[in-house]
Every structure is written in C-alpha cells, then in structure tokens.
C-alpha cells in the first residue's frame, strides 16, 4: 500500500479547513454572541465613560486611543481560547484520534490557526465598529488600516502559538485558561493599553514603555493615527518574530509529545 498519502499541501489545507470548520462550530456554541460581540462593546464604551474626561485634561483623545487596546485584549482572549480547546481536545482524546487517522500531520495546526484567525478578524471588526461609533477613525489611509488588521491578527497568532504549547501539555483546560489569565492581565494592565506610559510611576515607566504589549500597541496606534509608522511597526515585528520563534518551537515540541 502506498505510504505518504498523508502528506502534501492539498491534504494539509483541505483537512486543515475541515478542522477549522469544526473548531469554529465549537466556538460558536461555546462563546456565543456575548463574549464575541457584547463584551468588546461594553469594554469600549465602559472605558470611554471612565477615562475620556480624565485623559482629555492630559490632551489624549481617548476615543482614538482606546480601541487598539481593546483589540489587543481580545487578541489575548483568542489565544487563551486556543489553549483551552487544545487542552480539551487532549483531555477528551480527540487529539489522539486525529493523530491516529491517516490525515496530514499539520492539519490540526492549520485548523487551529485558521479558526483563530477568523475569530481574531471577527473581534477586530466588532471593536472597530464600536470605536467608529465612539469617534475612532483610521487616519493614515487604507494601507495603514490593512496593516493594523494584519498586525493585530499576527499578534493573536503569535500569542496563540505560546498559549497552545501550554494547552498541549495540559489535560486541564480550566486551569490552563486561569493560569494564562494570571499572566496576561498584568501584562496588559502594566502597558500603554489603557493609559499612556507617562501616566505610570517613574520606576516602572521604562518597563511599561518597552514591554512587547506596549510595543505592539504603539505600532497599532501609529497605523491608526498616522505620523511616523516605520519605526514602531518594525519594533513590533521584531518582537513578534522573536516571540514566534520561541513559541512555535515550544508548540511543535508539545504537539509531537501530546498523544
């Protein structure tokens, strides 16, 4: 019997898309309209109500400042969900079943990435729509706007690679998810997400300015607001490339071992 019927791009993408469809169907039942649509809108208008007037005194247009932060927050959420589903699939034995089937070895990964990308795009669309209602505008033209979307999705997939590595070594989706929340919330809070870096106390300001979440946010804001974009975007890409190299190596290891 012919061997190697599993390999090849046709299988990889054909079977990957079938699995992506399954992952999305799983998501649509698991996290409903409220997590994907209502929550981001609540965050956008909630933070606006809290900080808009306060930050106006510092000369910050908060309706323009905030939406990229909510996008980043939701990209984290997409990545944590990816880990949750990998851990569930490992616990339930679905992952073992896929691996015992004569299908492309990478299809499971492609299925995950494609589903995450779709979820990320949906979240971005919802948040930007809410932002537009509040006064947010893309001010640097269509190419920069597209760059904003691509960078956001790239950020989601990079973080997903890292969270997936954790999800794949675990069989406990709930604890993976809570562990990841403990990691991501401080990272997001102590960044330029919700207030500018210079609003932090002096001793922590350098960390706030240079940690990857802030660097990505700076690039997203540059792409949204206009002005000099090349520097911030290159810094963000450098961070993401480095993180992706580490995370994807870990994820591939974890995937090979997850029986």
């Amino acid at each position: 019997m012919a061997t190697g019927t599993e390999a090849g791009p046709v299988n990889l993408f054909g079977q990957g898309l079938l699995l992506a469809g399954r992952n999305l169907r799983l998501n649509s039942t698991a996290d409903t309209v409220s997590t994907m649509v209502v929550f981001p809108i609540v965050f956008v208008f909630g933070f606006l109500a809290l900080f808009q007037n306060l930050l106006k005194t510092r000369g910050v247009d908060y309706a323009q400042f905030l939406p990229p932060a909510i996008v980043v927050q939701w990209m984290f959420s997409v990545a944590i969900t990816a880990a949750f589903f990998f851990a569930s699939d490992r616990r339930s034995g679905m992952l073992a079943r896929y691996r015992s089937l004569p299908i492309s070895r990478g299809a499971v990964v492609v299925g995950r990435i494609a589903a995450d990308a779709v979820r990320a795009l949906l979240a971005i669309a919802v948040i930007i729509a809410a932002g537009y209602a509040a006064g947010f505008r893309f001010q640097a033209g269509p190419v920069a706007s597209l760059g904003f979307v691509v960078l956001s999705v790239g950020f989601a997939l990079t973080v997903s690679a890292g969270t997936s590595a954790l999800g794949l070594v675990s069989r406990d989706p709930e604890s993976v998810s809570s562990t990841l929340h403990v990691v991501y919330l401080p990272l997001l809070m102590v960044s330029s997400a919700f207030v500018p870096a210079d609003a932090f106390p002096g001793w922590i300001e350098p960390f706030v300015r240079h940690q990857p979440v802030s660097v990505v946010l700076d690039a997203l804001r540059a792409l949204a607001d206009g002005g000099p974009t090349a520097g911030p975007v290159l810094r963000a890409i450098a961070w993401l490339a480095a993180l992706l190299a580490v995370f994807s190596a870990a994820a591939v290891q974890a995937f090979r071992r997850a029986a």
């Binding site: 019997m1 061997t3 190697g4 019927t5 599993e6 390999a7 079977q15 079938l18 699995l19 399954r22 169907r25 799983l26 039942t29 698991a30 616990r91 339930s92 034995g93 679905m94 073992a96 079943r97 896929y98 691996r99 015992s100 089937l101 004569p102 299908i103 299809a107 029986a259």
Partner: protein, 315 residues
C-alpha cells in the same frame, strides 16, 4: 495487499524513569480477536498507543497489517481504526456531524460521508439521537458513536481500548453485541480490558500483561485451567481451626482477610466436601459460596506472588 494481523516483538516503552513496557510480545492472527488483559497501569493503553503510532517505540518491533510501526507509520494509520476508553467524539457536535467530519477527513466526498454517517447511525442504534449534540448522550451511546467513528472507512485492523470501562450493565451488553458483530465480519481485533469476563466472552485468545510484561497467554479455556477453576469462600468461627481443618483436607487454602478462608482450585463438588469436612469437625459455617476467580487471583496464580493490595488488607 497481503492480509496480515498484528505482530509485536519485544516491545519496549519508557517514560522518563518509569518503564511502562518491559518486554511485550504477542501476535494477532488475521481475523482473530485478541484480548489484552491486565489491571490499571499494566501497560495496555501504552501498547495500543505504540501500535497505533501515537507513541514512538523505545525497543523491539511491531507490525500492523504488514506495515512496520516505526518504518511506515502512515501505512499503519491507513490500516487501523482506534477507539479509546475516553470515547473521543466531539461533545459540541451532533452524532451525525461527528461522523460526517471523520468521513470528510478520510476523503469521502460530501454525499458519501453523509450516506456513510446515516448508515452507521442506524447500525449502531443512534438514529433517533443522530441530530442531538453528543453531550446529551448516555455513556453507552457515546461509546457506540466512538466505535462507529472508527468504522467510517473500513479498516482491516481495529484497536478497542477498554471499550466498556465505566459503562452500566446495559451499555456493556450493547457494546459486546457490537463487537461480536465486528468479529463476525472478520475484522482483526485487539481489545484491551480489565475484565476477565469480557476477555472471556469476546476474545479468541487472551494475552495477560502486568507491569509491562506478558505473564500468560492462551485461549480463555487454557488460562482458566492455569488459574485452576473456581474459588470457594468460607466464613466460619473459630477461624483458626477452620483454616487448619480445611488445609488438612484441601491443599490450596488461604486467609484472604475479613475473616474469610478461601479454597482455591474449587469446583461444585468442593462445596459439598467443604460442608462435610466442617460438619465432621463440628464447625458451623456462617456462609459458604463458590465464585469465579477474580482478576487478582488470576494474577496470584500466574505470577505466584501475592498482590500488593492483599498484603495491605491482611497487615
């Protein structure tokens, strides 16, 4: 394609410092049903995972349907179906969606996948629940769907990892019927189980493993002869004297804790003999009964060493 079963030679698997499989060798003839029998942690699932290419081997060799497990894993995967003790079907999807997904992954076109799913759902008596999410299924229904998922595309070799663990008696009976149906179709079947009764009922040959080693193999009849018939349990006071009296008359007598004296290698005739011996000695028994050997006792006989658990009970 040559028709071949499963050949396992000196299979070895190590997890860190723990040796899961010391040395496992056995053969499943084409079309035969072999039961891999052993307690939790004996290495049953590890063996199946190695044979289905989920785990790399650390020693020895194995072939499935003529494909070497290490050299041609893709060939192995194209020849097997694996259904596990964790009933790996998707909770959120309906039974039908699960089967269609597996069919599509295995390159059936849309129509063929739907037709095959409908056929399997009927065959496994899941037709009524076909369009309900799997999370609403009973344990038995999940297992049947799991088995059906393994049969979407027909394969010559089937691995069933503890197909009835955790099922109620009705679910177990239904699962047994399904497996017997498969046997009638001539599928080569390797099934793992902790239950002697299950191996007895379903398997042509039984391979007993413990601590990663094969400690016995043979037909159910051969193994039972090795174990030596049934066990007669006697509950009587004074226990010491009961033990002594019975030991004088029957060779293989032991205390098994809880004030019970057991006579091994018993048959229905033993029962009347025990009653007679006790009456002659003037001992009144509270309870005398005959039962099948438990798996512990099978291991006791096969390994010649007392199970650890028994030590604890006595001590």
């Amino acid at each position: 394609m040559r028709e071949e079963g499963v050949e396992v030679e000196r299979l070895r698997k190590v997890f860190g410092k723990k040796t899961a499989l010391e040395e496992v060798s056995f053969t499943v003839e084409p079309g035969a049903v072999v039961g891999l029998l052993g307690p939790n942690g004996a290495g049953k699932t590890t063996t199946v995972n190695c044979l289905s290419t989920l785990l790399p081997l650390d020693g020895g060799r194995a072939s499935v349907a003529g494909h070497d497990v290490a050299g041609d894993p893709a060939g192995v995967r194209a020849s097997i179906a694996l259904t596990g003790q964790f009933a790996a079907v998707d909770d959120m999807l309906t039974g039908r969606q699960n089967l269609v997904l597996f069919g599509r992954l295995l390159k059936l076109d849309r129509r063929a996948a739907a037709a095959r799913a409908a056929e399997l759902l009927d065959g496994f008596r899941l037709g009524d629940a076909a369009d309900q999410p799997v999370k609403s299924y009973s344990g038995g229904m999940r297992r049947r769907l799991d088995l059906a998922a393994g049969l979407v595309v027909k394969r010559p070799v089937l691995f069933l990892d503890e197909p009835t663990t955790g099922l109620d008696p009705v679910g177990r009976q239904e699962m047994w019927d399904m497996v017997e149906g498969l046997r009638a179709e001539g599928v080569t079947l390797l099934l793992t189980t902790q239950y002697l009764e299950e191996a007895d009922r379903l398997a042509d040959r039984i391979v007993v493993i413990d601590h990663g080693r094969v400690i016995a193999q043979g037909t159910p009849g051969e193994l039972k002869n090795q174990v030596g018939g049934q066990v007669c349990e006697v509950r009587a006071e004074p226990r010491e004297r009961t033990l002594r009296v019975l030991r004088e008359r029957f060779g293989d007598v032991a205390e098994s804790g809880g004030g019970v004296v057991t006579v091994r290698g018993a048959d229905p005739g033993t029962l009347t003999d025990v009653v007679t011996v006790l009456r002659e000695a003037g001992i009144t028994a509270d309870d005398i009964r005959l039962r099948r050997p438990t798996l512990d006792e099978v291991f006791f006989t096969l390994t010649g060493a007392k199970a650890d658990r028994e030590h604890e009970e006595v001590g």
